[in-house]
């Protein structure tokens, strides 16, 4: 790639117009989620059924215990509702969109845009995530609220922390997914590598079980990985397992991982683009 288009208004790009493109991209990403309402409905039914089974397993584990590792049975139900609600928004089962674009060579079209490649994809994924949260996440929470009842964050401060944590969990998760997708620059077999990564993510982020239930050794190892920042932290803030100063520390950890993954993405992307060879045709 040698040609880069000139900025639209020669040096005097106002802050507003610099935001206009990502916002438009995000809006399109949001709207695209509503194209197949029937698929969304079936997805919701499937997720509800699995939610039902997961609640049964967790309640059976609790038995008559009122509390385990800071979770009450009601917290465990809330945990299940939240994780089922976030599956699609956080793409917890995997995401290969950028990989596909690199493998097909369509990434060149992305490079022609007057925006950073990472920023463009982040905006698109933010829109997609918000669309899925509205379309699949909120109905899921509503179903859980009606069937079992959920625990909700207790006050404005907790709500603010949870909201911040959801944003950071999405950012952290997106950057991790993007980084894994960058493997496509180096290998035509990146899909297999991706499947591997998503399996680790499922266990490490606390989707399969609350991390608080794991043995101390396993939790200590996971604390050194970015995975808890992609889901578990948000859940623990929501149900109130993490409160007070620990809540701010947890948010700080999420932020630190977001920054670290952002740097990793930028370095990897630059190296990947230098390797990129696009076949003509």
């Amino acid at each position: 790639m040698t040609t880069m288009p000139a900025p639209p208004t020669g040096g005097h790009v106002s802050r507003l117009s610099r935001l206009a493109l990502p916002l438009a991209v995000a809006r399109l990403g949001f709207q695209r989620q509503f194209a197949y309402p029937q698929a969304a409905l079936w997805g919701l039914i499937t997720n509800s059924f699995f939610g039902l089974l997961r609640v049964a397993v967790l309640l059976a584990l609790f038995g008559t215990r009122p509390q385990v590792a800071g979770y009450t049975p009601q917290d465990a139900i809330t945990y299940t509702g939240l994780t089922q609600a976030f599956i699609m928004a956080f793409s917890l089962f995997g995401w290969f969109d950028f990989m596909r674009v690199v493998h097909r060579g369509e990434v060149t079209a992305d490079l022609l845009r007057p925006a950073s490649l990472l920023g463009f994809w982040a905006a698109q994924d933010a829109g997609r995530a918000l669309g899925q949260l509205v379309l699949r996440g909120l109905p899921m929470l509503l179903i859980f609220q009606m069937v079992w009842g959920l625990n909700w964050p207790p006050g404005p401060l907790a709500w603010a922390q949870v909201t911040l944590s959801v944003l950071l969990a999405w950012a952290c998760g997106f950057l991790f997914r993007f980084l894994v997708n960058c493997a496509a620059f180096w290998s035509p077999d990146a899909v297999g590598f991706g499947r591997f990564a998503w399996a680790v993510l499922g266990l490490g982020c606390g989707f399969l079980m609350p991390l608080a239930f794991f043995p101390d050794g396993v939790r200590a190892v996971l604390a050194w990985t970015p995975f808890p920042a992609m889901l578990n932290t948000t859940v623990e803030l929501w149900v109130g397992v993490t409160t007070g100063p620990a809540a701010w520390a947890a948010l700080g950890t999420q932020l630190a991982w977001t920054v670290a993954l952002l740097l990793a993405c930028r370095v990897t992307l630059r190296a990947g683009l230098r390797r990129l060879e696009v076949a003509g045709g």
Binding site: A56, G192, R195, A199, V200, M209
Partner: protein
């Protein structure tokens, strides 16, 4: 008899071609195999990691749960290898692309070709993992070693292969009419597998009864396992109910193939 032998040779030939093509990209194959293995491993590890803290699951020990979990996973993966061609996403791709129409033109039985059309060798490591979990269950659950135990467990696995294979065939047949509502079958196939991986007394009565009397999933391995562990059957079912369980699978499979024949007669192609 000669016909059957001919078909079997043909099936083995078709599988051989599939296996050769999947071996062509070695790294890709190994990564895919490891990835699919890791999904099962992570799911099982999550359960095994939390059990020590809770001591058990509704009165079931890790060994007893491994028996249910391992048998269900083993049967499901084997079924997936065998019946993968009928899985709705696969078959609907063939229907939409028109390659299903070419199956009809070839001088070989249609069903046989579908059977051999998606033999995913990458699932083999998962078979080993499932077998290992089941083996742990067999050695750590209080089972009486003997011919009856071995026979009932084998029958349960074969019954589950037939049951879930039947669901795949029904889901695949539905793609002749519609591609949208096929996702509903996932609740029964993948959902059903997950459902019977755990002792079914942990579910609410209506859920357990639905999957006992309406959809006979409980008969597949839960009732035989209760019988072998010397536990009473739910709802005051007589002891022999555990033994008729493995018949539920072949019945579902037979019904599924009857439906399949109706579907094939109805099939008109997509014009591609």
């Amino acid at each position: 008899m000669a016909d059957l032998r001919h078909h079997l040779t043909l099936y083995v030939r078709l599988l051989g071609a599939q296996i050769r093509s999947q071996g062509a990209h070695r790294t890709s194959f190994i990564l895919d195999a490891l990835g699919s293995l890791l999904i099962t491993a992570a799911e099982f590890a999550a359960l095994a990691l939390v059990l020590p803290r809770f001591g058990g699951l509704g009165g079931w020990t890790l060994g007893e749960i491994c028996l249910l979990y391992g048998l269900a996973e083993l049967a499901f993966v084997l079924m997936d290898i065998l019946f993968g061609g009928f899985d709705a996403p696969n078959l609907s791709a063939h229907v939409r692309s028109g390659s299903f129409s070419t199956f009809l033109l070839r001088p070989a039985p249609l069903t046989l070709q579908v059977f051999a059309s998606d033999f995913a060798l990458r699932r083999l490591p998962r078979v080993l993992l499932a077998a290992a979990i089941a083996a742990y269950g067999l050695t750590h659950a209080p089972l009486a070693a003997g011919l009856e135990t071995a026979a009932l467990l084998t029958a349960a696995v074969l019954g589950m292969i037939c049951f879930f294979g039947g669901l795949f065939v029904i889901g695949g047949t539905l793609t002749f009419w519609t591609v949208d509502s096929v996702e509903a079958m996932n609740v029964l196939t993948y959902g059903g597998r997950t459902l019977i991986s755990y002792p079914m007394d942990i579910y609410s009565a209506w859920l357990r009864r639905t999957f006992t009397y309406l959809i006979p999933a409980a008969f597949l391995s839960y009732l035989p396992a209760l019988h072998l562990l010397g536990r009473p059957l739910p709802d005051g079912l007589p002891g022999w109910a555990a033994l008729i369980g493995p018949l539920a699978g072949p019945l579902v499979l037979a019904a599924a193939f009857a439906f399949w024949r109706v579907g094939v007669r109805h099939y008109q192609g997509t014009g591609t």
